[in-house]
C-alpha cells in the first residue's frame, strides 16, 4: 500500500517535472534557434508545443505549471525588457495573457481528453475484463463439463490442502456432493486413507510429480476399489501453489486384469494339459503345414521316426515306410491319409498295413486324418492320428475264426438249432433248422418262435406248450412231448424229437432258450425196420427153434413111414404110406427153409459173384435143361464181395428158382448180370446183381405182396418164404432190391435188381 502510494506520488511528481522541464527546454530551444538563425522568433512558438505536450501527456496540472513557467520565462527573458519582470508593450502583455489563457484552455481541453481517454480505457478495460471474465466463465463451464464427464476424478488442492475444485467423477468416487468437498480440507475428507495420500501430497507440494496406486477397502459386502492417483504440482512464479490430483478408477481394470491373468493362467494350464495329453497319448499324432513341413508331433510319433528331427511329408515318410491296404495292394505315399488330408479330404478309420524299410517291422494301424482351414477357407494345416491295431486285428481274426468254427460246427451238426431271446424271439437258426422249418434266418430273425416252429401233436393235433415258455418256466433242460410233428412252411409234416435248454448269462439269469431238434422220420423208419427185423428175427429164431424141434419127430415119422412101406404087402397101405411120405417131405422142405433163415452168424468171407452164380445154376441144372431155358451170364465185378456165401447163394437161388418157374418150358431166357454200380440216393458205390427173365411176369396188384412171408404164386409147390427170406438177407447187407415186371403178352418179363453196397465188397 505504501509502495503504491509512493509510486503514485512519483508518477505525479514526474509529470510535473516533465512539464516544467519541457517549458525550460522550449525556452532554450527558442533561444538557440534564434541565435543560429538570427531571426526573431515569436515568443511563444516553442512554448505552445511544450504546453500542449504537457497537457496531453502529463495532465492539467502539469500543463498549468508548464504555462506558468513558460509565462514566467517569456515574461522575464523574452518580453521587453529582458531581465525584468515588467512588460513594456501592452500587446505583449495581452499576448502573454492570451498565452496563459490558451495554456489553461489547452490544459483543460487536454485534461478532458485525457479524462475521456482514461474513461474509454477504463471502459475498454472493463469490457475486456468482462469479456475475459466471460471467457473465463465459459472456459470454466467447458472445463467443468469436460471434467464432470471425465471418467477420471480431477481435483485441485491449494497449499492448505483445501479442495479448490472437484469434478463430478471425483464426487462420485467419494460418494459426496461437490459442496461437501470443495472448500474442505483433504485430510478431513480423505481421512480414512490419508495415511497413503498425505506423504505423497507433501512430495507433490514439494514439486514432485507422484504416481501411486491407492487401495480403498470396500464396505462389507462390497469389493475393494483400486485407483491410480497422480499428483501434478501446479506452479507459478512463486513456486507450487496447488496440486492437481488425477484419480483413475482401476477397479474394473484391475478386475479385468485379474481375470485376464487368471484366464491366461488357465489357458497356460490348459495348454500344459493338452501338451501333456498329446505327449502321453498312445496314438501317434503328426501335424504339418500345407507344404508338409512339421508343425507338431507327439512323443508316440517321434518314436516311429527316431533320429529324424523334423520328418517332412512326403519325403521322410516315403523314406522310412511303405504302406499296403488290407488286401495287400501297395499304397503310394501321396495317397496316404496325411496326403489326402493335405488335399482337403477327411479320412476316418482307414486301415493300412505299414512296413518299416529299416527294420522290416510290420504293423496294422488305423488312421484318422483331417485338413485344417483358416477363416477364409484356405488350407493351413493337416494332421493325422494313428493307432496300432495289430493286436485288435489278430483278436478280430481269432474271433472270426472262432465264430467260423462255431458256425461250421452248428452247420455241420446234423441237428437243427434255434436260439431265442428270453421273450421267445428268434435270434439264430442253423442251416438244418432253416431247412426243416422252411424259413430262412433273415425271414425268421426277430419273429416269435411259434410262428416259425409250428409244432403239433401228431395224433391229437393239439399244439403243445411253447417250448420257450416251458424251458423258462422250468428253468432247466426239457425234452418235449413225444410224437411231436413240425409243420414246415410248405405244409409238410416232419416228425421231430427235440430238447430245449435255457441260456444263462454269467449272473445265472435266463437270457434265452436254445432248442435242438432233429427229423426222426429216418429214425422212425429204422426203428420200424429194426422192429420188423426183430420181429423177423424173433420169428425166424422161433421158426428155427420150432423147425429144429420138428426135425426130430419128422425124422422119426419119416423113418416109420419108410418101415411101414417096407414091411407091408398091402398095396393100399403102401400107397397111403407113400403119400404120407410126400407130405412129410414138404414139411421138411419148409422147415429147412426156415432153418436157413436163422443162421449162426459166421464171419463174412470174400465171395466171387461168378462162383455163386455158377453154384446156383448147377443146382438147377436139371430144371434148366428140361425146360430148354437159355441162361445168359454177364459178370463185370473185378473184386470179391465180403459176404456169407450161403446167404448170397440163397438169394440167387430164390430168384433163379422163381425165374425158372416163370419161364416154364417155353424156351425162356434168363439173364444173370452183375456189375459195379452206384446208389445215387445215398451216394454209395457197390455191386448191382440183376436176375431177369422173360417169363409171364408178375401182375401189378401182386408186386407188393410177393415179398410177404407165406405168399406164393406157386400153388402147392411153393412155401411162400423165398422172397421174404431174400429181402431179409438183402436188408441185412443194407442193400436194396427192386422189381420191374410186365405181364403183357409178348413183352412180359420180370427183372429183379439188387444193389449190394461196397461195405460188403472186399477192397484188397
Amino acid at each position: 500500500m505504501a509502495e503504491s502510494k509512493l509510486k503514485a506520488l512519483n508518477l505525479s511528481l514526474s509529470r510535473y517535472v516533465f512539464a516544467a522541464a519541457g517549458s525550460v527546454v522550449a525556452f532554450f530551444v527558442r533561444e538557440l534557434v534564434q541565435l543560429h538563425s538570427g531571426h526573431q522568433l515569436p515568443p511563444y512558438v516553442t512554448f505552445y508545443p511544450a504546453v500542449i505536450l504537457a497537457a496531453l501527456y502529463a495532465g492539467f496540472g502539469p500543463a498549468l505549471l508548464a504555462t506558468a513557467i513558460s509565462a514566467v520565462l517569456a515574461g522575464y527573458w523574452i518580453l521587453e525588457p529582458i531581465g525584468q519582470w515588467a512588460i513594456a508593450d501592452p500587446g505583449d502583455a495581452l499576448g502573454l495573457a492570451l498565452f496563459v489563457c490558451m495554456g489553461v484552455v489547452v490544459g483543460l481541453a487536454a485534461e478532458r481528453h485525457r479524462r475521456a481517454q482514461r474513461r474509454l480505457a477504463e471502459y475498454e478495460k472493463q469490457l475486456a475484463l468482462q469479456k475475459s471474465e466471460e471467457a473465463l466463465r465459459e472456459n470454466e463451464a467447458v472445463l467443468q463439463t469436460v471434467t464432470d464427464h471425465a471418467r477420471v476424478g480431477l481435483v485441485m488442492l491449494d497449499r492448505n490442502r483445501r479442495y479448490v475444485f472437484a469434478n463430478q467423477a471425483y464426487c462420485e468416487v467419494l460418494g459426496l456432493p461437490t459442496t461437501d468437498i470443495v472448500g474442505q480440507r483433504a485430510p478431513d475428507v480423505m481421512a480414512h486413507v490419508y495415511d497413503q495420500i498425505g506423504p505423497r501430497l507433501d512430495r507433490a507440494f514439494a514439486g514432485e510429480r507422484v504416481n501411486h496406486e491407492l487401495a480403498i477397502p470396500g464396505l462389507p459386502g462390497a469389493a475393494d476399489r483400486f485407483y491410480a492417483v497422480t499428483y501434478e504440482p501446479r506452479r507459478d512464479s512463486g513456486g507450487v501453489i496447488g496440486v492437481i490430483v488425477v484419480v483413475v478408477d482401476l477397479t474394473e481394470r484391475k478386475r479385468a486384469e485379474d481375470e485376464l491373468k487368471t484366464a491366461k493362467q488357465h489357458a497356460e494350464d490348459t495348454a500344459i494339459q493338452v501338451r501333456s495329453i498329446i505327449e502321453n497319448m498312445a496314438e501317434r499324432l503328426y501335424v504339418c503345414d500345407s507344404k508338409g513341413n512339421l508343425i507338431l508331433m507327439n512323443e508316440a510319433f517321434r518314436r516311429t521316426y527316431p533320429g529324424v528331427p523334423a520328418p517332412k511329408f512326403p519325403e521322410s515318410f516315403a523314406e522310412y515306410w511303405e504302406a499296403f491296404d488290407l488286401a495287400g495292394n501297395p499304397v503310394p505315399v501321396e495317397d496316404w491319409p496325411i496326403g489326402l488330408a493335405l488335399r482337403g479330404q477327411k479320412v476316418r478309420n482307414a486301415e493300412f498295413r505299414t512296413r518299416s524299410k529299416r527294420t522290416g517291422e510290420e504293423m496294422i494301424s488305423s488312421y484318422n486324418a483331417a485338413p485344417v482351414f483358416d477363416a477364409q477357407g484356405k488350407l493351413v494345416m493337416a494332421l493325422f492320428t494313428t493307432q496300432d491295431i495289430s493286436a485288435r486285428k489278430q483278436a478280430e481274426a481269432a474271433l472270426r475264426a472262432s465264430e467260423e468254427r462255431w458256425a461250421t460246427t452248428l452247420r455241420s451238426i446234423g441237428d437243427a438249432v434255434i436260439s431265442t431271446c428270453a421273450l421267445g424271439k428268434i435270434i439264430f437258426m442253423n442251416d438244418v433248422a432253416q431247412k426243416l422249418t422252411g424259413w430262412t434266418l433273415e425271414e425268421a430273425e426277430g419273429k416269435d418262435l411259434s410262428t416259425v416252429f409250428n409244432i403239433v401233436q401228431e395224433v391229437t393235433r393239439i399244439k403243445p406248450e411253447d417250448p420257450v415258455s416251458k424251458v423258462i418256466r422250468l428253468g432247466k433242460v426239457v425234452g418235449l412231448a413225444n410224437h411231436t410233428a413240425l409243420i414246415n412252411r410248405d405244409g409238410t409234416e416232419i416228425p421231430i424229437e427235440d430238447s430245449g435248454a435255457p441260456i444263462r448269462n454269467h449272473k445265472g439269469e435266463i437270457e434265452g432258450v436254445v432248442l435242438v431238434f432233429h427229423d426222426v422220420s429216418e429214425q422212425r423208419k429204422m426203428e420200424q425196420a429194426v422192429r420188423t427185423s426183430d420181429r423177423l428175427a424173433t420169428t425166424g429164431r422161433l421158426a428155427a427153434t420150432i423147425a429144429h424141434e420138428i426135425h426130430n419127430p419128422l425124422d422119426a415119422v419119416g423113418n416109420l413111414l419108410y418101415l411101414v412101406q417096407q414091411n407091408t404087402k398091402d398095396e393100399q397101405i403102401r400107397q397111403f404110406a407113400s403119400l404120407a411120405s410126400e407130405e412129410l417131405s414138404r414139411v421138411t422142405q419148409m422147415t429147412q427153409q426156415m432153418l436157413t433163415f436163422q443162421r449162426e452168424s459166421a464171419k463174412p468171407v470174400p465171395v466171387q459173384i461168378e462162383e455163386i452164380f455158377d453154384n446156383v445154376v448147377a443146382l438147377y441144372q436139371r430144371k434148366i435143361e428140361s425146360g430148354a431155358i437159355q441162361i445168359e451170364k454177364q459178370i463185370e465185378v473185378p473184386h470179391p464181395l465180403l459176404a456169407q456165401p450161403g446167404e448170397l447163394r440163397q438169394v440167387v437161388a430164390n430168384l433163379l428158382g422163381n425165374a425158372i418157374e416163370a419161364v416154364g418150358r417155353d424156351h425162356g431166357r434168363i439173364w444173370l448180370r452183375a456189375h459195379v454200380a452206384r446208389d445215387w440216393r445215398r451216394g454209395r458205390s457197390g455191386v448191382r446183381v440183376i436176375i431177369a427173365d422173360n417169363g409171364r411176369g408178375i401182375p401189378a396188384g401182386l408186386r407188393e405182396k410177393i415179398f410177404d412171408p407165406f405168399f406164393t404164386t406157386k400153388g402147392e409147390s411153393g412155401t411162400g418164404l423165398g422172397l421174404w427170406i431174400t429181402s431179409d438177407i438183402i436188408r441185412k447187407y443194407d442193400g436194396t432190391i427192386r422189381l420191374r415186371s410186365a405181364t403183357r403178352a409178348g413183352r412180359s418179363g420180370t427183372c429183379f435188381s439188387i444193389f449190394l453196397p461196397n461195405s460188403a465188397v472186399v477192397n484188397d
Partner: protein, 121 residues
C-alpha cells in the same frame, strides 16, 4: 456094429428099427458120455451122431471118437445146416435130419462100403 447117439430117445428108437431092418446091429446112447462109454467097450464101426445135444455137442463127441479110434466112420445127422467147418472136418459124412430115410441109409452104406465088415442081409 453101429452106434447111434441122439438126445431124442424116440427118434433114436425108430432109427434103430430102421437100421436093424436094414440088417445092422445097433447100439444106442442118449448122451455123448454114454455113447463114448459104449464106444470104448464095443467094436463100433460107424457112429451116427446128432449135433445138438446138451452137455457134449456132436463136435466134442466126434473129436473124442476120433481120438479113441481115428479110423471110425462118423455120420453127422443134424437138423442144422450151418455147421462149423471144424466139425465137418471131423466127420466123414453129413446128412440133414428129415431128408428121406433112403438118403440116410444110402449115405451110411456108402460110408461102410470101405469097411466091408457088415453086409446087409
Amino acid at each position: 456094429m453101429i452106434l447111434c447117439i441122439d438126445d431124442e430117445p424116440k427118434g433114436l428108437q425108430i432109427r434103430r428099427l430102421l437100421l436093424e431092418h436094414q440088417g445092422y446091429s445097433v447100439l444106442t446112447a442118449t448122451s455123448g458120455r454114454e455113447g463114448l462109454a459104449l464106444f470104448a467097450s464095443h467094436p463100433v464101426v460107424a457112429v451116427v451122431l446128432d449135433y445138438r445135444m446138451p452137455e457134449m455137442d456132436g463136435g466134442q463127441v466126434a473129436a473124442e471118437l476120433r481120438r479113441l479110434k481115428p479110423d471110425v466112420k462118423i455120420l453127422l445127422l443134424s437138423a442144422y445146416l450151418d455147421l462149423p467147418p471144424e466139425v465137418l472136418k471131423l466127420v466123414d459124412q453129413r446128412v440133414v435130419k428129415g431128408t428121406s430115410p433112403t438118403a440116410f441109409v444110402t449115405a451110411l452104406q456108402q460110408l461102410l462100403c470101405s469097411c466091408q465088415n457088415m453086409v446087409p442081409s
